[in-house]
């Protein structure tokens, strides 16, 4: 069972894909401006899905900041957690 998704792990995941330190990730930046491509998004997505978050590619790709990503992930994570109980 993979580690559950936390804001720290979310930051760390982004930092890894953006070649930055976790503290350097600007959550207000847009994924496009950060230089992400669809394969990176898919790879991140797979990681978060494995952590139990029900989220799709389009859901992420259409959002224009990492902060919006986290908001979505958190909603879905809670939703999933509720469904589990």
């Amino acid at each position: 069972m993979p580690e559950p998704l936390t804001q720290e792990s979310f930051r760390a995941d982004l930092a890894e894909f953006l070649h930055l330190g976790p503290d350097e990730v600007d959550l207000e930046e847009s994924p496009l401006d950060a230089g992400l491509d669809s394969l990176r998004i898919v790879t991140l997505l797979e990681r978060w899905q494995a952590a139990g978050v029900d989220v799709g590619f389009v859901d992420l790709a259409e959002r224009t900041s990492f902060a919006q990503w986290w908001q979505l992930l958190e909603e879905r994570r809670r939703g999933a957690a509720r469904a589990d109980t």
Partner: protein, 1458 residues
């Protein structure tokens, strides 16, 4: 080749977009920028299906086909992009119209009943994919549901790329799965969630004016400001073809796993590793220091288009610098950086960037091969059933496209390599794919090893091999027969055929008897001077009969001859003489002063009182000649060639070149060049005629070829440098290769691939082109390659294999020659003598000559010349062979000649300087360099580029490299013609600028695709002809386009003087079209033959009955069947053909009159013929050289039309026997193509006109898809076996009239002859036999060498009829009018006189289709030799149509052949 400014194919928005305009209909929308790119690409080739993209989804489980069909209709209806068509407005601008897809049908098929259902399904998809879509009508898509197993269905989905990109296709597929699942399970269909196209347009419009776009533009124009070269491995670009080569491989799970692991380790994605490896592989192939890839980009991040099926994909150019020291880790880091920098700017349109950078049109490219990563696993489920997605086509391919699919079953990656067939062969694609996978496999295993240490497919050939590698030995095979001394061979011809002409020069000829007599006189004079075996006699004479006689005379005396250049400077002559120590100098009186210290024999002075000394006979070990070559030391060396070597060479080369008795070989080379040895001895030893050229013959190439034609030369032996000129002139049609020439031998330096390609394109493969290589030290020629071999790849110029009876070895890349043709050594003992030495690397250490030439041995076993070991020099550590750079220069379309030299500077540095002769408008130096950069390592790109009017050449025609330090003169620009001015004027209007000159590249001036399309349309209207959009991309200057339009695609205009009825008769009724009931392509069971009672027809009938089992219905002009049968049998008997009982039973004679409508047959009979005959051979025609068209049209043209009508009913193949006389004469067209012919002014006679009109009808039938072929025959002469003569033949009438009178007319120079039995067999094979799949539809039956009238008359004389040749007019006057034969021919000549006696001689007749069709048929070519002519004459004597010749030895001097 051109690339328009559309997005390159295969690779994922922002010009004129807007909201729906307020047009009256309210349904017209501007195109999205990406769509405009696709639309433009489609306009380049409107009928191309290349923009169809397709995939299929394999569903594992049962499918309810009716529900599936409903689901598809549901999804299509809600997908806006699929309910559209495209129109253009008056300005040529495209618009998208909302057009409901309307009625369309899913193709549903259950293939499980038949064999191989999956393969059948894939084949069906290929078929469907090949259908072009009409954008103005739609529908833009197609669906099929194919059942390939009890629980397996393939859903095939095709969409034109203008509607959807790959992501759009995926959105639709996902939606279909969703709707089907809902319908199948009885659930309500959820909302599609699709956004509107309007929202995408609005977003694109907003971006257009945004600050963001300005930033994106600044990024890209900055990053590509230097416009790096971007060609792929092909080294050139091309428009996408209609199809592509695809090679699919699956990366095994282990490698895929390692790839993912390494990606994780390097903190990148696997796609970056694939990009890095692809760049590394391309670098290894091209040597380019930087690879520019094309990356399709989805272009949807943060965009509304994520939820809209549409075409928004963009392409990102990605620069990847590569060196062989890079590791995978280095490369990937670079790729990753570049990608992260570029991705934020991915919305800026690729097409716009090309316009910004002026990289549109011509050969300009922004980026090279594509790499398309598809990371999307669909994982679609159809009512719970699992499925996998498979791509079928991702759209057109510009160059190469590496498509990588993450397979949804998680097993690994699938890599589909797509390639443009214009640029790559399937085997090249396979090799590329293999190399890529190999490198990927090793790189992910060792990511920290430099690339140069990674094994990855075939690396470029090493420049030197280690001595431990085995020495390749090439063997020329055995000699065909015994080696005989040259003097004995020549003496034989003098004894047996003494009257045959041995040598011709200007207006003088000598026979073999005279030549040998003269040589013997010379030998006696030499003997009288005490000259004999062991001596060397210098021959200093100008080329001519005297020199040939002297050479033979020296040999007969037992001495060796040493030719000296009579025009050489005195000091060189003195040095050569000092080293040669001749016993005697043979020269002319005016040269005495040049030989003050030598005994001289003056051949132009009468012989003194004859001595009594008899000449001695030379032995094989005696020296035959001494020729001087310049050694590497600069000191001339006398090469001593023995009689044995000469005899061996003559036996080997004579056989290899196929020199024979009837040949007329041009003597081109000066005597002091060893090519003269080849010309002289090969010809005289074969009994041919040596035709010595005059000095002024080579004033110009057209003059040279005209003279060669006049001299009826059959073999040309040319210095390669001169042949380069000839090839150029022939390819540009400024001169035509004489039709008499059947073999061209070249040698002396490396043949340029570009010239070889030009030659092959212009001349075809019917004329032998022998590339010879050899040093003087190995007797003229050592290796030979057939450059006319159709199997040779373009650009490949091997030097082939050693001559028979000799061998060659390659040691450390250098060529060594072995065998009996090696020289005895050098006269005296110069330092270079060590070049002859035992070769210890071979068993027995045989004697070998070390050539100093670098070669490679290809996989085909042929040698290829790489350069001189000592020409090679180094620049910045690179070994440079000037030839390599020159070859690359010559691939530039405007570079005509090139010479590259390394110029050393005072400071010791070397600079590479290219000297060019260019086509106007001359390319700029930067253009040339850019061209080279894509082809050569940077060190090989010359730093100096100089334009010259012509290259300096040495006396022997070789490029004078030392003279290339002369200051260059720039070529003057050309002034524009009317067409150029028209085009430039048009561009001024369209571009709205007053400054377009004929040499301006319109793309440099900012021309955009839409404007190009406008220009093409307007130009087409203005010129009243089709002008393709692609042509404007290919020829971006007005001058270039005008030249292309003039030369490349000249349109026929109806010439004056053709009867008006003729043009009216050449329109085929629209109703004549292929019927539905197509005949199966098996052997025919019933054949309709017309004209069976004629000369050709009777032999065709015999051949039809001899081979197949088919019944033959023959139309015969008769009142009833009995008379028809009777006439048919009479005709067969008259032509000496007897049929067996069974064969007779298979023939039906049908009374018919081809000149009457419907052949005078009842409708019932016609219907029966149409229903039962499964092939038609239309051979009947009224042959008359005097009747006019009006009297021939019914029988000759009307019959063809009626037969086409008959054939169309069941799409029955119709084969038409035509005549070469429909072709324009050589004066109008240098060659006769195997194509239908436009009207021309050479159509002067009624018969010609009627046959041409028939061909014209067949041309239209062929265009409509009717299976027709046309077979053009030349003069059909009697069967080669029997010597039977067609008495009605015009030429034989002339001979029958002329021979008794002792005079013959010089009617023409040469013509195509084909024996009737040969042509009948060929025809039946090509029409009905195994050859019927040969490419056609036009076949010129002209595979045999042309018959020269002069040869015919020579033969007539040799046969024993003394005849004088007269001009036709005089012949007519002098001919006694008593005989019938005379009366007939005179009547024709009178009429020809009225028609101003035009020269009807044809240019070179292409016969490639016939040759290819006959290959492997076992139908051998008969030889049109003197024996055959004698058999014909025998026949005439036996038949009493000619008197027996008065001379001795008739009639049966020819051996009958059977």
């Amino acid at each position: 080749m051109p690339t328009p400014d559309r997005a390159p194919a295969r690779t994922s928005a922002d010009t004129p977009v807007g909201t729906t305009t307020g047009t009256p209909t309210g349904t017209r929308h501007p195109l999205l920028a990406a769509q405009e790119g696709i639309w433009t690409g489609q306009q380049l080739d409107a009928d191309s299906p290349a923009y169809n993209t397709a995939e299929y989804v394999r569903i594992d489980g049962p499918v309810d086909t009716a529900v599936f069909d409903t689901a598809l209709h549901h999804v299509v209806a809600e997908t806006e992009a699929l309910n559209a068509t495209f129109v253009t407005d008056a300005t040529g601008r495209p618009w998208q119209l909302d057009t409901p897809a309307g009625e369309w049908r899913t193709h549903v098929a259950d293939l499980t009943a038949g064999p191989a259902p999956y393969a059948v399904a894939l084949a069906w998809m290929d078929q469907d994919l090949a259908r072009p879509v009409d954008l103005t009508r739609g529908p833009l898509f197609g669906h099929a549901l194919l059942r390939t197993g009890p629980e397996q269905y393939l859903w095939y989905h095709r969409v034109h790329h203008i509607a959807l990109d790959g992501f759009g296709l995926a959105l639709v597929a996902r939606r279909v799965a969703e709707v089907y699942t809902a319908l199948a399970t009885g659930e309500p269909v959820p909302d599609s969630g699709f956004g509107t196209l309007e929202s995408v347009r609005a977003e694109e419009l907003a971006y257009r004016g945004s600050h963001r776009r300005a930033k994106d533009r600044a990024y890209w124009t900055g990053r590509f400001a230097d416009r790096p070269p971007a060609d792929g491995p092909a080294g050139r670009s091309a428009l996408p073809a209609r199809t592509f080569h695809r090679r699919v491989s699956d990366l095994d799970p282990a490698t895929t796993e390692r790839l993912r692991a390494v990606a994780h380790d390097l903190s990148v994605t696997w796609s970056e590793i694939v990009l890095a490896v692809t760049a590394a592989r391309l670098h290894r192939i091209t040597g380019s220091p930087e690879i520019v890839l094309s990356l399709p980009a989805m272009g949807r991040l943060g965009s509304v288009s994520l939820r809209v099926p549409a075409m928004v994909r963009n392409i990102l150019p990605l620069r990847v610098p590569v060196t062989s020291d890079d590791t995978l880790r280095d490369l990937t880091a670079g790729v990753s950086r570049e990608l992260r920098a570029g991705l934020p700017h991915q919305r800026y349109r690729y097409e716009q960037l090309r316009r910004d950078l002026k990289l549109v049109g011509g050969r300009r490219r922004l980026s090279g091969p594509g790499v398309n990563i598809m990371p999307f696993e669909y994982g679609l489920r159809f009512a719970g059933h699992h499925s996998t997605v498979h791509n079928v086509s991702a759209g057109p391919v510009d160059d190469l496209a590496v498509n990588v699919y993450d397979r949804s079953d998680g097993t690994g990656l699938r890599i589909a390599l797509d390639a443009n067939p214009e640029l790559y062969t399937t085997s090249e694609v396979a090799a590329l794919q293999e190399g890529l996978l190999d490198l990927l496999g090793t790189a992910v295993t060792t990511p920290d090893l430099p690339l140069r240490k990674l094994a990855a497919g075939p690396a470029p050939a090493p420049t030197s091999t280690s001595t431990s590698t085995p020495v390749p030995v090439l063997d020329g095979g055995p000699l065909p027969g015994p080696v005989r001394p040259v003097l004995s061979l020549i003496a034989d011809h003098a004894a047996r055929r003494g009257a045959a002409v041995a040598v011709e020069h200007a207006d003088t000829t000598v026979t073999y008897a005279e030549l040998l007599g003269g040589a013997r006189d010379t030998a006696r004079r030499l003997a009288a001077h005490g000259v004999g075996r062991g001596d060397v006699v210098v021959v200093a004479l100008p080329r001519g009969i005297g020199a040939v006689t002297a050479v033979l005379g020296v040999l007969l005396s037992g001495a060796a001859y040493c030719p000296l250049d009579p025009k050489a400077p005195a000091d060189r002559t003195a040095r050569l003489l000092a080293g040669t120590t001749p016993a005697l100098v043979v020269t002319t009186g005016d040269r005495t002063a040049d030989f003050p210290d030598h005994a001289v024999l003056l051949l132009d002075r009468p012989a003194g009182p004859g001595g009594t000394a008899a000449p001695s006979t030379p032995q094989p070990t005696d020296t035959a000649y001494v020729l001087h070559t310049s050694g590497s030391t600069g000191r001339p060396k006398g090469v001593e060639i023995g009689h044995g070597a000469l005899a061996h060479f003559v036996a080997a080369a004579g056989h290899r070149y196929g020199i024979r008795r009837g040949d007329r070989v041009l003597q081109f080379a000066p005597l002091h060049f060893d090519t003269s040895v080849e010309e002289l001895f090969l010809t005289l030893c074969a009994g041919g005629t040596l035709v010595i050229r005059t000095d002024d013959m080579i004033e110009s190439v057209p003059r040279f070829l005209d003279e060669a034609a006049r001299l009826r030369v059959s073999v040309l032996d040319l210095p390669t440098a001169y042949w380069h000129e000839v090839a150029y002139a022939v390819s540009t049609r400024t001169a035509a290769l004489p039709a008499t020439v059947r073999t061209v031998v070249i040698g002396g330096e490396a043949a340029l691939p570009e010239r070889v390609d030009r030659w092959r394109a212009a001349v075809g493969t019917s004329v032998a082109l022998l590339n010879t290589y050899g040093p003087t030290e190995a007797t003229v020629v050592a290796t030979v390659a057939d450059l006319h071999d159709p199997a040779l790849a373009p650009g490949d110029v091997p030097i082939g294999l050693p001559l028979p009876g000799t061998r060659a070895a390659v040691v450390d890349g250098e060529l060594y020659l072995l065998g009996d043709t090696l020289a005895r050594g050098y006269r005296g003992d110069p330092p270079d003598s060590s070049r002859f030495a035992p070769l210890a690397a071979l068993p027995g250490a045989p004697r070998a000559y070390r050539t100093g030439d670098l070669v490679s041995v290809g996989e085909d076993g042929y040698l290829r010349f790489l350069g001189r070991a000592d020409d090679e020099f180094k620049i910045s550590g690179h070994r440079v062979q000037p030839a390599e750079v020159e070859s690359a220069l010559l691939t530039h379309p405007r570079v005509r000649e090139a010479a590259v030299v390394g110029r050393a500077h005072a400071d010791g540095t070397r600079r590479l300087v290219a000297h060019l002769v260019a086509e106007p408008p001359a390319p700029s130096a930067s253009d040339v360099r850019e061209h080279l950069r894509a082809r050569l390592p940077a060190a090989l790109v010359p730093s100096g580029i100089e334009l010259l009017d012509r290259l300096p050449r040495t006396g022997s025609g070789k490029i004078d490299r030392t003279a290339l330090s002369e200051p260059p003169e720039l070529r003057a620009p050309t002034t524009g013609g009317a067409l150029e001015r028209t085009i430039a004027g048009l561009w001024r209007q369209i571009l709205g600028t007053g400054t377009v000159t004929v040499h301006d590249d319109v793309f440099d001036l900012g021309a955009q695709s839409l404007q190009v399309i406008q220009a093409a349309n307007r130009l087409g209207t203005e010129l009243g002809r089709e002008v393709k959009v692609a042509w404007l991309f290919q020829h971006p200057t007005a001058a270039g386009l005008a030249h292309f339009l003039d030369e490349g695609s000249r349109l026929p205009s109806a010439p004056a003087g053709l009867p008006s009825a003729l043009l009216a008769d050449t329109a085929l009724e629209p109703g004549i079209r292929p019927g539905t009931d197509r005949v199966p392509d098996g052997s025919p069971r019933r054949v309709l033959l017309t004209g069976a009672t004629g000369f050709v027809g009777a032999h065709l009938l015999a051949e039809l009955l001899a081979g197949a089992t088919a019944e033959v219905v023959c139309t015969v002009r008769a009142r009833d069947r009995a008379e028809a049968t009777d006439r048919l049998h009479q005709a067969l008997a008259r032509h000496g053909i007897t049929l067996g009982e069974r064969a007779r039973d298979r023939v039906t004679a049908l009374p018919a009159d081809l000149a009457r409508p419907g052949f005078g047959l009842t409708p019932d009979v016609l219907c029966d013929l149409a229903a039962t005959c499964d092939a038609i051979l239309h051979n009947a025609a009224t042959v008359s050289i005097m009747r006019d068209y009006a009297t021939l049209r019914a029988a000759n043209t009307g019959s063809t039309r009626d037969l086409l009508r008959l054939a169309a009913v069941r799409t029955t193949p119709l084969h038409y026997v035509s005549t070469l006389s429909v072709a324009p004469p050589a004066s109008r067209s240098p060659q006769v193509p195997e194509e239908f012919l436009p009207p021309h002014e050479g159509l002067r006679y009624g018969y010609q006109q009627s046959k041409w009109a028939s061909e014209r009808l067949l041309e239209q039938a062929a265009e409509r898809g009717l299976p027709v072929t046309v077979h053009r025959l030349g003069r059909v002469v009697g069967p080669s076996g029997t010597g039977y003569v067609n008495e009605r033949d015009f030429l034989w009438s002339v001979l029958r009239a002329g021979i008794p009178a002792g005079i013959v007319p010089d009617l023409f120079e040469d013509e195509v002859w084909t024996p009737v039995d040969f042509v009948a067999r060929s025809l039946v094979h090509l029409c009905l036999g195994a050859g019927r799949r040969a490419a056609g539809p036009v076949f010129n039956h002209a595979t045999l060498p042309r018959m020269r009238l002069a040869d015919v008359y020579d033969g007539v004389a040799e046969y024993g009829y003394p005849v004088r040749r007269l001009p036709p007019a005089r012949w007519r006057q002098e001919l006694p009018r008593a005989t019938d034969a005379a009366a007939t021919t005179l009547a024709f000549l009178d009429s020809a006189e009225q028609a101003a006696a035009p020269d009807l001689r044809l240019g070179h007749v292409r016969a490639d289709n016939v040759r290819a069709g006959l290959e492997g048929s076992g139908i051998g070519s008969p030889s049109l030799d003197r024996d055959l002519l004698f058999r014909y004459l025998d026949h005439c004597v036996a038949a009493g149509t000619l008197p027996a010749p008065a001379g001795r030895g008739r009639p049966s001097r020819a051996t009958p052949a059977h």
